[in-house]
């Protein structure tokens, strides 16, 4: 019976041909390492976010009089399994960002942003940026103290442009305009909540969905990179490639199952970080909490902003880091790929990795003068990583030429 239905569909849609071409005859390098799984894990988390988000949106009310109660009473207490979907969505947001960061660091380590994969990296960067905005907008929705004050601080960051050394009026006007656009006014009220809600539930997810589609297409078009950094010729080296299905699908399927086991362990038994205690207090515009800090995935940027004494240069610095990340394929123009074969790059990658982690952890600490100095030090190291890339590439071009163009 089932076979007949598939036959009927196949006759009209040619699904078997598509499956064969895209899954079995599609060959990937045999030596892919464990970190290559993060892409598919991010995709799974995205699906979880969409499903749990659809359930939450049915009961959430984007009005400040009802937002807090709809999240904490209706969803958590009134609706059967509402708590489960909120837990999944809150933990999912953190896991999504965590997996995306791991995916990005993997990409940097194996130089997966180099020719012919520059577009994969650039679209991936746009996904990361949109994801950060989605996380920020979603953070306001429960309308707790952390949501409110976190958003107040974030929407005031563009206003630090007014601190510019020259053209104060011009920069100030730009900063204020951005800030007012984000909030829909000078105060964080119903208008802002409505805007953030609309962006978070319709616009940004649709954009993400489109971008993820393009990202996947580009990965297929350019081919998966390879930990060794060689481009494998699939025709002349058939022993170095394997069919995508079942070799990779089953391996990553098993990893995905274990990832979900860890994810649901957090969902059921350890939510105290993902639903922080302070956010169970309703937003109070008259009461500023003692410690305001963004969520962990923004703390690195926040620490860069905070540790630089001038607000303007702090703003410039963290935006510059984002921009340099986007320009990575062009900063690193060396013909040699993968940190496995690039000792200088390997050292700088470790410097970059440790500095980003240190900046994030410094962001959780109190803003003492020592911490500010440490923050500046690690900020300098992050910039050193980006600036070292052209130098390393220049040296490697020399070696490349000396070996007669052999990688």
């Amino acid at each position: 019976m089932l076979r007949k239905i598939v036959d009927w569909v196949d006759e009209r849609a040619k699904v078997r041909e598509l499956y064969k071409a895209q899954m079995v005859e599609y060959k990937v390098p045999k030596n892919l390492t464990f970190p290559y799984v993060f892409g598919v894990l991010a995709l799974i988390t995205f699906a979880l976010q969409i499903v749990s988000g659809i359930v939450l949106i049915m009961y959430y009310k984007p009005v400040i009089a009802h937002a807090f109660d709809s999240a904490n009473y209706t969803i958590m207490k009134e609706i059967d399994f509402g708590w489960l979907f909120r837990h999944i969505h809150a933990a999912g947001a953190n896991f999504f960002l965590a997996i995306v960061y791991l995916h990005m660091f993997t990409g940097i380590y194996y130089n997966a942003y180099k020719k012919p994969r520059e577009l994969v990296w650039i679209v991936g960067w746009v996904i990361y940026f949109v994801l950060l905005v989605t996380a920020l907008t979603g953070y306001l929705l429960p309308w707790g103290q952390l949501s409110y004050w976190g958003t107040v601080v974030t929407t005031e960051i563009p206003a630090s442009l007014a601190d510019a050394p020259i053209l104060k009026g011009f920069f100030g006007a730009i900063g204020e305009t951005i800030s007012v656009w984000m909030k829909g006014g000078y105060k964080l009220e119903d208008l802002a909540l409505g805007r953030f809600f609309g962006l978070h539930v319709i616009f940004l997810p649709l954009v993400l969905l489109g971008l993820v589609g393009i990202h996947l297409f580009l990965v297929r078009a350019a081919g998966i990179s390879n930990p060794e950094g060689y481009e494998i010729d699939k025709k002349s080296e058939p022993d170095k490639v394997v069919p995508f299905h079942p070799y990779v699908t089953l391996k990553e399927g098993a990893y995905a199952m274990w990832y979900l086991a860890i994810f649901f362990f957090f969902v059921f038994f350890y939510m105290s970080h993902f639903l922080p205690a302070d956010n169970f207090e309703p937003a109070d515009p008259l009461k500023t909490p003692p410690h305001i800090a963004p969520e962990w995935y923004l703390l690195g940027f926040y620490e860069v902003f905070r540790s630089i004494p001038s607000k303007f240069w702090g703003f410039v610095a963290f935006n510059l880091i984002l921009l340099l990340l986007l320009l990575l394929p062009f900063l690193d123009f060396s013909p040699i790929k993968s940190a496995r074969r690039r000792p200088l790059f390997f050292v700088m990658f470790i410097v970059f990795l440790i500095s980003s982690m240190a900046l994030t952890i410094l962001g959780t600490m109190a803003p003492t003068p020592t911490n500010a100095k440490l923050g500046m030090f690690f900020t300098a190291l992050v910039f050193l990583f980006f600036l070292s890339l052209p130098v390393i590439s220049f040296l490697e071009w020399g070696w490349y030429k000396a070996r007669g163009g052999q990688t």
């Binding site: 009089a65 009802h66 807090f68 109660d69 904490n72 009473y73 207490k77 009134e78 708590w83 953190n94 965590a98 791991l102 394997v242 069919p243 079942p246 070799y247 089953l250 391996k251 399927g253 098993a254 990893y255 995905a256 199952m257 274990w258 979900l260 086991a261 649901f264 362990f265 969902v267 059921f268 038994f269 350890y270 970080h273 205690a277 302070d278 956010n279 169970f280 207090e281 309703p282 410690h291 962990w296 990795l353 440790i354 982690m357 994030t360 952890i361 959780t364 600490m365 109190a366």
Partner: protein, 234 residues
């Protein structure tokens, strides 16, 4: 894998796990206040029977200033209004409680704007005498935790100097005072935390879900191994 490969794998895995441990589970660098909680008090707070007594104590001692809307508990002065019952039944939603298999209405949940409109004058009066409206305590247990609440109710000025919350329990005159405070905290806990039977259900659900994924992963792994051996790809 070469020795260098093992070193790299251990280094990167260890660094990543250590980072997420600090960020998500225990951060030794971040400052966190802790409040002392005696062991017998913890026992009372976790006892569902104490929560029932705590509800009455709350009504006697706290409900003249604080509401607990998620439990259908409102300011006493508001509950004496003649139109109150009607407002609850037309604008509110029943809070359903399952007791020994029977479904019963425990009280009514009133949306915040409706409640604040009805109680406007009462809330203004409280603001006039205390400087601010005493907060609704529906989620305070989740926000502050048992240690803070116990110490704060026992001696507000010691925990939060300058607060307008009065001291209501005096251990020097009333031997039962610490137990009474603990019962009130137990009540606030029962409003926020799911009841023990529900909690047990969630634990079973969690164990089954996590177990399912672990086992599915193992099955897929061995299925793949056998399949690849047959195909000559391993």
């Amino acid at each position: 894998m070469s020795a260098w490969g093992v070193v790299k794998t251990v280094f990167f895995t260890g660094l990543t796990l250590a980072f997420f441990f600090v960020i998500w589970i225990y951060n030794p660098f971040a400052h966190k206040e802790t409040y002392e909680l005696p062991e017998d008090v913890t026992k009372i707070i976790e006892d569902p029977k104490a929560a029932l007594e705590g509800r009455n104590l709350f009504k006697q001692n706290c409900a003249s200033c604080h509401s607990v809307r998620y439990d259908g508990m409102y300011l006493l002065s508001v509950e004496t209004k003649p139109e109150w019952e009607k407002i609850l039944k037309t604008m509110g939603r029943p809070i359903i409680e399952k007791k020994e298999g029977k479904v019963q209405v425990k009280g009514y949940y009133l949306p915040r704007d409706v409640y604040e409109a009805v109680a406007l004058q009462d809330l203004e009066n409280l603001k006039a005498s205390f400087g601010k409206v005493p907060p609704d305590l529906s989620t305070i247990y989740l926000a502050r935790g048992p240690g803070y609440l116990y110490q704060f109710i026992l001696d507000p000025q010691k925990v939060l100097p300058g607060t307008s919350m009065p001291k209501l329990f005096f251990p020097e005159y009333d031997k039962e005072a610490p137990q009474k405070v603990a019962k009130i905290v137990a009540y606030l806990r029962s409003v926020s935390e799911p009841p023990p039977s529900e909690k047990a259900k969630r634990t079973v659900m969690g164990v089954v879900t996590v177990g399912y994924f672990v086992i599915m992963g193992v099955i897929l792994w061995f299925y793949r191994k056998r399949l690849l051996e047959k195909m000559g790809l391993h």
